[in-house]
Structures are given as C-alpha cells and as structure tokens.
C-alpha cells in the first residue's frame, strides 16, 4: 500500500506544479543551443535548498527531462542540436523539416521522447540496483570500443563519400587534442595562445559547425528556410502515433539502448542517440532513406536520449556515481541536503524519497506530452513564419549567448564562429559536419579509454589481451564490424537483387 502513498504524494498539487514548471523551463532552455541541462540544473540548486529532498529531485528531474527533449526543436528546425543529446536528431529531423514535415518531426520527437522517458523511468523503478552493476562492468577498454562504435557511424553517414567522411572524422579528433588534456594534463597544440588553453568545448563546436553554415546559407540564398506545408494540419499527432506504432520494436529497442547507455557514467545522451540511430538504421528495411528525412531516425534518437534520464539516475542513486553530467550536479545538491546515495537509499528509512521522486519523474515525463506539443507547435510556427531578416539575427544572437553561457567564456564564442566559417567552407567541398562532430565528441572517450586500458593491460602483462579478451569488448567489436561493413554488404545485396531483376526481365 506504500506504493500508492508515494504516487499520491507525487501527484499532489505542489509536486505537479513544480514538475510542470520544470518541464516547461527545461524544454525552453534545452531548445536554445548552448544552454544545456547541466547548466539549467546548476542554476536551480540554491532554490532546492529550501525544498524537501523529494521535491528538489522532482524539480531537477523535470528540468532535466524537459531540456533533453527541448534539444530536438533546434535540431529539427535549425539543424543545430540544442543539447549534444540531439545530434542524431539532426540527421533526419532537419531533412524532414526542409521538405515541409517539420511539424510532424517535432510531434514525433515529443511522442518518442515521452515513450523513451517512460521506459527509462520504468527501469529505474524496477531494476535499479541490479542494473547499476553495468556501470561497474564497463572499464576503460569498453569505453574505448564504445567510442569506436560511435565513430563507425561515420561509415554509414558518409555512404558514397567515405574518404571525405573519414577525413572529417580525423579533423574532429584532432580538434579535441587542443588545450589542457583532461587526463594527462599535457598542454597540447595551443601554439602559445591563451585562447586555446581551454580547448575546444564540444557544445560550442557543435553550434559552430551546424548552425553557422545554416545561417550563412539562409542569408546567401533567396529560398525560404523551410518548405511550408499547405493548410493547418494541427499537431499531426495521429500520424506521429501511428508511426510510433508501426516502428514499436525499433522504438522499444532505442529506449532500452538509451537506458543502458545512460547507466554508463562515461557515455551520455549524445552517444545514446548515436548508438540507437545506428542500430535503427541497420535493422530498418528502409535504411537507404535514413539521412534523407526518415521518421524512424528521429524516433530512435529522441526515445534513446530521453531514456538516458531514467538510466542515468540508476548509478547516481544506487552507487553515488553520476550517470550523466546533469546527474553530477543533482548529486551535489543532494549532498548539501544531507542525503547519502547508495543501495540503502532504496530500502532504508529514506527510501520514500527515491520512490516519490521516481513517481514524480513519471509525472514529469507524461506532462511533457501536452507541454511539448504546445511549445513545439509554437516554435515551429515561429521558425516558418518569421521573415529571414528577423530569424537570422535572432538565431545568431542566441547562438552567441548560448556559446558564452557554456563556460562563461568569450574564447568559446570566437572558436565557435571560426569553426563555423571553416565548417561552411568544408561543407561546400563535400565534407559534412556530422563526421567532424562525431570525431570531436567521441575521441576524448576513445583516447582516455585507450591510454587507461593500455596502462592497465601492460601492468597485467598483456595489453593486447586487455583490448580483445573481455566479453563485453568482444560484443562491441562485433557490432563495430557489422556497423562498419553493413553499407558495403547492403549495397552488394541491392546490386545482386537488381541483377536478378534484370535477368528476369
């Protein structure tokens, strides 16, 4: 009967209002490139001091989940992920918007995010203590291979332009080496410049590489930013739900991937979205349409990144190990409140906090449906109806504010603009931004995992065995092989089929 008490507590007027406020604030913040979930929660921390721990958690959880969803708006409408978690959403979301299906993409992102969020929260409720062990099973070597798996997506993203994709990926990886290395503390490739000591912040690079070229093209061409569909088609909710239903297995798989990647402390929402996207694409019968506006791609990325919210709370609450960067801030806020995380939190006297919070997370996720649809509709209308002369300066202004806000640093703004200009030029020569961004985001994880795995392996007497002899590593290596060579195999199949068809006629 205690369960009902927790639910009743979570749906008290007070908790529903803070969850609603949190989701709305989170969605708006997430939609603005540069303003991340981590920042939003950090700003909230002092407010939570005066709250009860469970209420504080509900508020922070609501902002968090809203922000992860909000990142989809700018990804779909401006080709600029509002948060890194929405990188994979740009792949198909923006092409959808381009051809006039932006409203559908936004609605689909909402329904998929809600679904993913619910799956993540369900895992948190039912299986948190055993699942937390996944966080521990992943060692440096596993992170190394996971990052390589993410990088293997370059092959799928640059079908037909493999060499350019790889060059782009390498460029991104080189960019990450600039600045004070997080682990070795070496100061690399700063060329004596103080601006470069802080390195290239991935989020500012993301804004530069994705958003600046879009802005330049907007100004340089007379065409409308997005195709406008004729007539009011409402939210297109029915259409979105039927797409969700048609791809229910893909949706569920993406949500599970998102939950598991969320549990891994070294990974996070961006990798969750990328891995889920890669898997959805591989297993889809329509895989050749991915990247050209395939709704399933948006679904995979958005369900996975919202599932990381619930997933990330699993190691945070069970082990005290933050699953994602926003979890680290939430953990800090709990410490100030005097709450110790750990397995005991789920069974001891304080377990009511956890269960009220989980119930609150469900409520917040469900609230995302109406609020998300409404805010999404508004954002879509704004982007399509505002004249370019207003849109471009507004977005440009927001990207500068957003980039500055990441680390309160002007250097990041300069780097963002320079990278944006470079990205625009490269794009003209066929080097797409996504491989560069993948290199930027993933090489940090790959580098650390490699160096750590190498030192540990050498100490154990065999570095090679460390990389190739661990069961989880082997599993990931197999996936890498499949993901890397699948485009080649798929093309061979298609060719064969065409040949057969030809010979039949």
């Amino acid at each position: 009967m205690q369960g009902i008490d927790y639910v009743l507590e979570a749906i008290s007027l007070y908790h529903i209002s803070i969850a609603l406020a949190g989701v709305i604030a989170g969605t708006v913040i997430g939609a603005l490139p540069g303003l991340t979930a981590t920042m939003a929660i950090a700003v909230l921390v002092p407010i939570t001091f005066s709250m009860k721990p469970a209420s504080a958690l509900i508020l922070m959880g609501a902002v968090y989940t809203g922000a992860i969803y909000g990142g989809a708006y700018s990804a779909i409408l401006l080709k600029t992920p509002g948060t890194p978690s929405a990188i994979a959403t740009t792949f198909d979301g923006y092409p959808m918007a381009k051809r006039g299906d932006g409203d559908l993409a936004v609605t689909l992102a909402c329904t998929s995010s809600v679904f993913g969020g619910l799956v993540g929260a369900l895992f948190l409720l039912l299986l948190a203590p055993p699942l937390a062990q996944i966080a521990l099973a992943f060692g440096p070597v596993e992170y190394f291979w996971l990052a390589i798996f993410g990088l293997s997506l370059i092959s799928a993203l640059s079908e037909g332009h493999m060499l350019k994709g790889l060059i782009g990926g390498c460029f991104g990886m080189l960019l990450t080496t600039i600045g004070v290395a997080e682990v070795s503390a070496d100061i690399r490739y700063t060329f004596g410049s103080h601006t470069l000591i802080g390195g290239i912040e991935p989020v500012s690079a993301l804004i530069g590489l994705y958003c600046v070229p879009v802005m330049i093209d907007l100004v340089a061409t007379p065409a409308r930013h997005l195709q406008v569909s004729t007539g009011g088609r409402g939210f297109r909710l029915r259409e979105a739900l039927s797409l969700n239903w048609r791809h229910k297995f893909s949706l569920l798989r993406s949500s599970v991937i998102g939950t598991i990647v969320g549990i891994l402390p070294g990974a996070g929402g961006s990798i969750a979205g990328l891995v889920a996207y890669s898997e959805a694409r591989r297993s889809s019968r329509r895989n050749e349409y991915f990247g050209t506006g395939e709704p399933e791609g948006v679904m995979a990325s958005e369900s996975a990144n919202n599932a990381t919210v619930g997933g990330g709370f699993i190691p945070t609450l069970v082990l005290g190990i933050p699953g994602t960067p926003p979890d680290a801030v939430i953990l800090g806020a709990l410490l100030v409140q005097g709450i110790r995380t750990g397995p005991k939190l789920f069974v001891g006297d304080e377990s009511s906090i956890v269960y009220i919070f989980i119930a609150g997370l469900f409520v917040a996720t469900l609230l995302m449906l109406p609020t998300g649809l409404l805010i999404g509709r508004y954002a879509y209308r704004f982007i399509i109806s505002v004249p370019k002369a207003v849109l471009v300066p507004t977005v440009a202004f927001m990207t500068i504010i957003g980039t500055y806000a990441i680390r309160n640093n002007m250097s990041d703004v300069v780097i963002m603009i320079v990278l944006g200009a470079i990205g625009w030029v490269l794009d003209r020569y066929g080097f797409k931004p996504s491989p560069i961004v993948l290199g930027l985001i993933l090489s940090r994880i790959a580098e650390q995992g490699f160096v750590q795995g190498w030192i540990i392996g050498t100490a154990r007497g065999n570095a090679a065995a460390e990389f190739f002899n661990r069961p989880i590593s082997l599993g990931i290596i197999i996936f890498i092989g499949v993901s890397m060579f699948y485009p080649l195999i798929a093309r061979r199949w298609r060719l064969n089929k065409d040949l057969q068809n030809d010979s039949e006629t």
């Binding site: 981590t38 920042m39 929660i41 950090a42 921390v45 002092p46 001091f49 966080a135 521990l136 099973a137 992943f138 060692g139 440096p140 600045g179 004070v180 997080e182 682990v183 070795s184 503390a185 100061i187 700063t190 004596g192 103080h194 000591i197 802080g198 390195g199 912040e201 402390p265 070294g266 082990l319 005290g320 190990i321 933050p322 960067p325 979890d327 680290a328 801030v329 953990l331 800090g332 806020a333 410490l335 100030v336 005097g338 110790r340 750990g342 397995p343 005991k344 680390r407 309160n408 640093n409 250097s411 650390q448 160096v451 750590q452 030192i455 540990i456 050498t458 100490a459 154990r460 007497g461």
Partner: protein, 321 residues
C-alpha cells in the same frame, strides 16, 4: 566670472558628493549586494560541492547571496588567467586549487603565475588516501606493500588526472615505500572511483572524500598529520612510517586590484563560516579536512611551503622540468 563661479560651485558640489559618497561607502557594511563566486571547474565537482556547503551559511551570516557560477576549462587555468582582469571591488571571488596553480604555470605560459593570484583564504583540503574496495584482499597498507614488492609494476592505482595531488602522492609513496606501481589517470574522482568499484584497478589513489560518497570502499591510510575525525580507525601514513601529508587544497582568491581592507574582510567572513560547527560537521562527514589559512602571514607561510613541496614532487613525477 560667471563661468568661473559655476566651475567653483560644481567643483565644490563634486567634492561634497565625493566625500559624502565615500563616507556612506565606508559606513555601509561590506557586502552591500550579492557576491559572485566563480568556480574554475564544472558543476558537480568537489570545488562546487564545497562552495555549495558555504552558500547557505554565507546567506545566513551576512544577509547577502553567494552566487555561484562556473568558468571551467584548461584544468582551471582559463578562469585563473582571467581573474586579474576582473574589477577588484570585492564582489567577485574565485575558487582556487592546489597543486594545479603551482604546476600549470611551471609547465607552460598559461596566462597567470602562482604568485600573481591573490588568495584571501585556504579553507579546506581533501587529504590523499589509498582506497580499496570492501572486498579487497588487502586489509592493511602492509598487505598492499608486500604484494607490490613481490610483483613490481603489477599494482594499478586509479587516480584523478595527472599532475594532480593523487598523482604526486603515488610518486612520493612509491619512493618512500620502495615499490613500483602503475598510475592510471582518470578524468576526475568519480570515474577513478568507478574504476575501483568495478575492479578495473587494484586500488585507488583517492581522497578521504571517497568512502562517504562511494559505498563499498575503504581506506588503508590517509596523508594527514592526525587521523581524520570521521575515520578514527584509519591510520595516517605518518603513523606507519611514511612521512607524507598531502592533498588537494582549496581556497578563495580575489582580483589583484581588490583593496587591502576588502581582502581582509572577505578573509574574516570565510573564517567565520569555517568556524561554524554545523559547517565543520558537514565538511568532515563528507570526508573533507578543515584548514584555516587566512590572508596575511599565515597564508603566506602556507603558500610558501605548499609551493616548495609541490614543485619538488612535480619534478619527481616528471610533470615539470
């Protein structure tokens, strides 16, 4: 003549206003408004957490908010390089960290120097400690040293970054104990402790803050003068015959243009919080160790010693030439 009169009048008015302004400024108690507290690292880390501990006490004692913001990058260097470009009116303060602030300027030109930073207080430290899991076969420090002596190079320690207090402690301890171990650097205490809990490494060079935050871990020894009040059963390295006291020290600095009296006032305020029993309890329960080095000769003495010790171990660790 008319104009001259005007000038005289204006000048008089300005003078009066200035005097009046000055007197009110002096009479009004500092701080008159919220103080910005910049953390040179990401939110959620120990620098942030300890600032968050200070935050409510500051508000309660001085009636004004302590507004925390983050300027991370370059292992803290980005923020510290900008500190002296900020207006020195006392309303901007910044968290500082040792050994970072000693090692970075010795590595390369990072835009600031150790002596160029005006610290007003060093308020706590997280002592280095050897941490193992509850299940670890090593019950005492001696067990671990015995194993390491029989298996040179086989013992792996996870730790938070290179050139950090953890790393310097590993190098110093290897020398003192006559062993050779491998140091595996992670991007912070959280991933380093996760690797320990996941048994990716044999042990961890962590801090006394690790066991309270990560259930399932325990310490073999702590690098303090006396035992930590929260862990009376864990011996110090000194007791066991290894002369080492070290850790990550945290303080608060101001832009160098900050007037002398404001520096002293800020130091006094931090000192007040540092002597608040509820604050001390919160810090110690979470494994932090208190330190009271206020602006003036005490801080100078502390910094001089820290600088000398850190430089010596950083050279030994190969971080600087």
């Amino acid at each position: 003549m008319k104009t001259f009169g005007k000038i005289v009048l204006t000048a008089a008015a300005v003078a009066v206003a200035a005097t009046f302004g000055l007197t009110t400024a002096a009479a009004a108690e500092f701080p008159e408004k919220a103080i910005n507290y910049i953390i040179a690292f990401k939110p959620g880390g120990e620098s942030d957490v300890t600032a968050r501990f200070q935050q409510p006490f500051f508000k309660k004692k001085f009636g004004k908010d302590l507004v925390i913001s983050y300027k991370d990058g370059g292992g803290g260097a980005v923020a510290w390089a900008q500190l002296n470009t900020i207006a020195g009116d006392g309303y901007t303060i910044m968290g500082t960290n040792l050994p970072h602030m000693v090692i970075q300027p010795l590595q390369k030109d990072v835009g600031y120097t150790t002596d160029g930073i005006v610290n007003v207080y060093m308020f706590h430290y997280t002592p280095d400690a050897i941490v193992v899991t509850d299940k670890s076969p090593y019950k005492t420090l001696k067990d671990l040293i015995d194993f390491a002596k029989k298996n040179p190079g086989k013992v792996t320690f996870s730790g938070s970054a290179k050139g950090s207090s953890n790393h310097l402690a590993q190098v110093t301890f290897d020398r003192l104990a006559g062993i050779k171990t491998a140091y595996v650097a992670f991007a912070g205490t959280a991933p380093s402790s996760t690797a320990l809990l996941g048994e990716q490494v044999v042990a961890s060079w962590g801090y006394t803050t690790v066991p309270p935050a990560y259930p399932g871990t325990r310490m073999l020894a702590v690098a303090m003068e006396k035992r930590h009040p929260n862990f009376p059963n864990v011996p110090t390295f000194k007791e066991l015959g290894f002369d080492m006291v070290s850790g990550a020290y945290r303080g608060i600095a101001v832009p160098k243009t900050t007037p002398e009296d404001i520096r002293k006032k800020l130091a006094k305020m931090i000192d007040d919080i540092n002597h608040e029993p509820a604050f001390i309890k919160q810090m110690e329960d979470n494994g932090f160790a208190m330190l009271n080095a206020p602006y003036g000769p005490e801080l100078d003495k502390f910094m001089a010693k820290a600088k000398k010790d850190i430089t010596t171990s950083a050279k030994e660790a190969g971080m600087i030439k």
